[in-house]
Amino acid sequence: MTHVADRSILVVEDSDEDWETACDAGAAAGVRSCLHRVLDATECLAWLHQRLGANAVSSEAPVLVLVDLNLPGVDGRTLLASIKADVSLRAVPVVVMSTSSSQRDIASCYDAGANAYHVKPLRYPDHLRELASIFDYWLGLNRPPGVGAICQ
């Protein structure tokens, strides 16, 4: 039986500071080892395709992709849209993290199929708390596809 916590969280983040914050939050939540980092959209898609192939419910599937909107090259929104447009990838939950609180950005991400949208808080403790809640929810409370079937 595969435990959810054994599975990976893919963080698409080019900012070292924010990656460190994510690691801090992961360490605090006890899921530090699940976190994998890619720097941009191309790496992200390559990583996902390598894990998933044509099988969207493979046990290799990450339990969550955490995407920063502001990425070098192809931006986060386009990456999000590519994942959601790909039949083999679209079941993977994608959570957007962004500094933007603009309604336009939020709406366009949900339109593109985002599973959640979070505004990165400025204050470090707030940021840690926000990430910890995300990990709690997606690794603890939420049931990703494939996992439930195995548990039963």
């Binding site: 500071e17 924010d18 502001n70 500094t99 933007s100 603009s102 950005d105 400025l122 470090y124 940021h127």
Partner: protein, 797 residues
């Protein structure tokens, strides 16, 4: 009149006429006004008693009918003349001469002078003959010595003089430039030739009413120039006759009439047609009308344009009988014929000129519009839309605005008119998308309100409805008419038919007939409007393309702004968060024990927080200016409730007192943004307040209530909303500065800090609602912020 034509009315409708079923005679059947238009003026049954008429059989030349006054004129009793050869009257030589003339000359419908002979009492008579429908019409009238001109003329007398006059008149007519000058010369020349007291050119308008457009008269007579008369004043039968004869003399308006004996032709049983007889008996209505004006003699010539009656040369005499010789009348005929040809040419030339002029005006306007890039420019300048057509005012609806020149209905009425026009089927006619009316109030009853200045409307659409419109207005005819000194105030006399047959009443009837009417829009005017429309449409299309280009540019610049906002929120905030994070980690690091260092790190942290706030405010501000409003009817009370709730936490912790003196009404506004206005103003009122309790009043001043003295012009006529506090107040010199971006009047952390963008955003939000915002404040005792939201319908319902 041919044998196939109705002789005397036999239809049932006509049976009500006094002469129904029997031959007509002016003498026997007095005519009433109601049947003027059916009076058989061509077969009046009577001649003017100053002369005599014999109707001869052709070619036998025996007398079939004779006027009853033959004894008095010719010295032969009419009854005795019947069936006799004409030689009884003319003598053998005369009869022979008559037969020669009939054989050789074109006398059908064309009276020809035969000779003069002595009549009863030795008076000299002119014999004039013409044929009609197989009868020979032989007229005798007293000879008049041919006077060439009115007294004082330098020209020679006699027939030679007449030709000299005629020649001179023709020469002068040919040199006259333009229709008006031609008419002026014409009246002068006819007056000179005839010696009659008043000579007028009377022009028929398209609705058949007449206007005196030129006049030459005895100096002591009041001018009738510019007077108008209803169409009825020249009844239909009279107009028909003027299409067939060139001169109509009535040398003695009060002269007696002599009936034909017998009244109908004995061979055919039909009344004799006198259309071409100089002696034809005039209608009683006509002579009574003339007498009522004081006219004693008159002469009328038609001015014809092709087959149509263009107008009349009407001559009046006021000093008793005034007969003209046959030669003089022939000269007048000639003048009328020449005038007709010249008129036709002159009118065509003037119409052509005015078309060329209109075209030139249209081109000027469009060149100007194209140059300025604005169609609206056509209502400005010395040459404007008003000059495209004869009109009193013009209006253009373009790009959501009215542009008017000259006299037009007021704007609200124009808007209603435009709305009505946009439903007209005429605008769907692919051949001519044009609406024209010379009685607008009949088509669109609301136009009664401005009938005086706009009874006539010509409108063309610009582009698909409800798009642009071009309109031209014409005033009610009555407003256009010169009523020169009211010369008809005192009728000379009033005949048995009462005052109807006076020019005064005529004018009143005319006035009634044209109430609410303008002069009609002529076909070439409609064509000019259509042409201008097509040219203007091109311009509209070009402008639409330019607008599309501009829109593209605007979209691009909006996209640039979006890109900026994106950069600002991500690229600026990301390093800021990094700075904050490291400062935080240093601050938490147990190794840093130096108090001064820790204080500096605290400051660094609060600076990053402040900068984050500034970036957020900047982003919000750029969004406020860019995103479109969602206007809807809102209950202002509900908006206020929400706003109060949003600032509620602050309110509870500060023990404030909120006062709303009276309920608000409904407002057309963007709910969320209006709430944002209130939230900002309310939180400022609470924030910059050191009193206890804090008191905030939110209220309104109706558009019809006494406005604040401080209110700017643009707030006039609007409901003014206000938020009043008892806070710290703002010094006068700082009152404008509070609206400036990031402008703070206080130390960074005083009054809870803040980005300093709140009021800038509030002003932007109010301005987006096309409203105004201003304030009144006194340092230490409080501030009141006033604002308007145009479209607001006022206070409580």
């Amino acid at each position: 009149m041919g044998p196939n034509n109705p002789v005397f009315p036999v239809t049932s409708a006509a049976s009500a006429l006094p002469w129904a079923g029997q031959p007509y005679s002016i003498k026997r059947h007095g005519v009433s006004i109601t049947n003027c238009d059916t009076e058989p003026v061509q077969t009046p049954g009577c001649v003017q008693a100053r002369g005599a008429l014999l109707v001869l059989r052709h070619p036998a030349l025996t007398i079939a009918q004779a006027s009853e006054n033959c004894a008095a004129v010719l010295g032969h009793d009419a009854a005795e003349l019947l069936q006799q050869p004409v030689s009884r009257v003319l003598g053998a030589a005369g009869a022979e001469r008559l037969a020669e003339v009939l054989a050789s000359d074109a006398v059908e419908c064309n009276p020809v002078y035969l000779f003069s002979q002595t009549g009863a009492g030795g008076a000299l008579l002119d014999a004039v003959v013409h044929t009609l429908n197989g009868s020979v019409m032989l007229e005798f009238e007293p000879s008049v010595p041919t006077a060439a001109a009115a007294s004082g003329s330098r020209l020679p007398q006699g027939e030679a003089g007449l030709y000299a006059v005629l020649k001179f008149a023709m020469a002068r007519l040919q040199t006259a430039v333009g229709l008006q000058a031609f008419c002026d010369v014409l009246t002068q020349q006819v007056r000179e030739m005839t010696g009659l007291d008043r000579v007028m050119v009377y022009k028929f308008h398209p609705d058949l009413h007449g206007e005196v457009i030129a006049e030459a008269s005895r100096e002591d007579l009041p001018s009738w120039l510019g007077l108008h008369y209803p169409a009825d004043d020249i009844p239909l039968p009279a107009r028909e006759i003027f299409k067939r004869v060139w001169v109509r003399p009535v040398p003695d308006v009060s002269g007696a009439l002599a009936e034909m004996v017998p009244l109908v032709h004995p061979d055919t049983g039909v009344p004799v047609e006198m259309t071409h007889c100089g002696l034809r008996g005039p209608s009683v209505m006509y002579t009574e009308y003339l007498r009522n004006m004081g006219v004693t003699a008159c002469l009328t010539m038609p001015i014809r344009s092709d087959a149509e009656l263009w107008g009349l040369i009407a001559c009046h005499h006021y000093a008793g009988e005034k007969a003209l010789s046959f030669q003089q009348r022939t000269a007048c005929e000639l003048i009328a014929q020449v005038a007709s040809v010249q008129f036709r040419d002159a009118e065509k030339r003037e119409q052509l000129q005015s078309e060329v002029e209109r075209e030139r005006v249209s081109q000027t306007l469009l060149a100007r519009a194209a140059g300025s890039g604005s169609l609206a420019s056509v209502v400005r300048g010395e040459i404007s839309l008003k000059d495209v057509l004869p009109c009193s005012g013009a209006a253009l609806w373009d790009d959501g605005r009215w542009h008017c020149v000259g006299q037009t209905p007021p704007l609200p009425q124009l808007a209603a008119l435009a709305a009505w026009l946009s439903t007209r089927p005429e605008f769907d006619n692919p051949l001519q998308r044009l609406f024209a009316s010379d009685c607008l109030s009949a088509d669109f009853p609301a136009a009664v309100a401005y009938a005086e200045l706009a009874s006539g409307l010509l409108a063309v659409p610009l582009g698909p409805r409800p798009g642009g419109l071009m309109m031209w207005f014409r005033p009610q005819v009555l407003q256009e008419i010169r009523w020169g000194g009211n010369p008809h105030d005192k009728p000379k006399v009033v005949g048995p038919h009462g005052p109807r047959l006076t020019p005064r009443v005529s004018f009143e009837i005319f006035a009634e007939s044209v109430r609410g009417r303008s002069s009609p829009w002529l076909s070439h005017e409609k064509e000019a409007a259509t042409r201008l429309r097509l040219l203007a449409m091109e311009l509209v299309v070009v402008r639409a393309q330019r607008l599309a280009t501009l829109n593209d540019a605007l979209t691009r610049s909006n996209d640039d702004l979006d890109a900026f906002a994106h950069v600002a929120s991500h690229d600026l905030k990301e390093p800021l968060r990094g700075i904050h994070k490291y400062a935080h980690q240093l601050r938490e690091d147990a190794r840093i024990v130096d108090e001064d260092l820790r204080r500096k790190l605290d400051n660094l942290l609060s600076l990053t927080v402040r900068m984050d706030g500034l970036i957020d405010a900047l982003l919000l501000f750029s969004r406020v200016g860019r995103e479109s409003l969602e206007l809807e009817e809102c209950d202002f009370n509900a908006i206020l409730d929400e706003a109060l709730e949003m600032v509620g936490s602050r309110r509870e912790e500060t023990h404030s007192e909120i006062v709303v003196p009276r309920p608000f009404g409904r407002v057309r506004c963007d709910w969320v943004r209006c709430r944002e206005i209130l939230v900002n103003l309310l939180s400022n009122a609470l924030k910059y307040n050191d009193k206890s309790p804090k008191r905030i009043e939110i209220g309104w001043i109706g558009a019809n209530e006494t406005p604040r003295e401080s209110a700017p012009k643009e707030a006039a006529g609007q409901t003014v909303y206000y938020v009043r506090d008892n806070g710290i107040g703002i010094e006068a010199r700082n009152q404008e500065q509070v609206f400036r971006m990031f402008k703070r009047l206080h130390k960074r952390d005083a009054f809870g800090g803040g980005s300093g963008a709140g009021l800038t955003i509030v002003r932007k939000l109010v301005e987006r609602h096309r409203g105004a915002i201003w304030l009144e404040s006194e340092l230490g005792s409080g501030s009141t912020f006033y604002f308007t939201i145009p479209g607001a319908s006022g206070g409580a319902a």
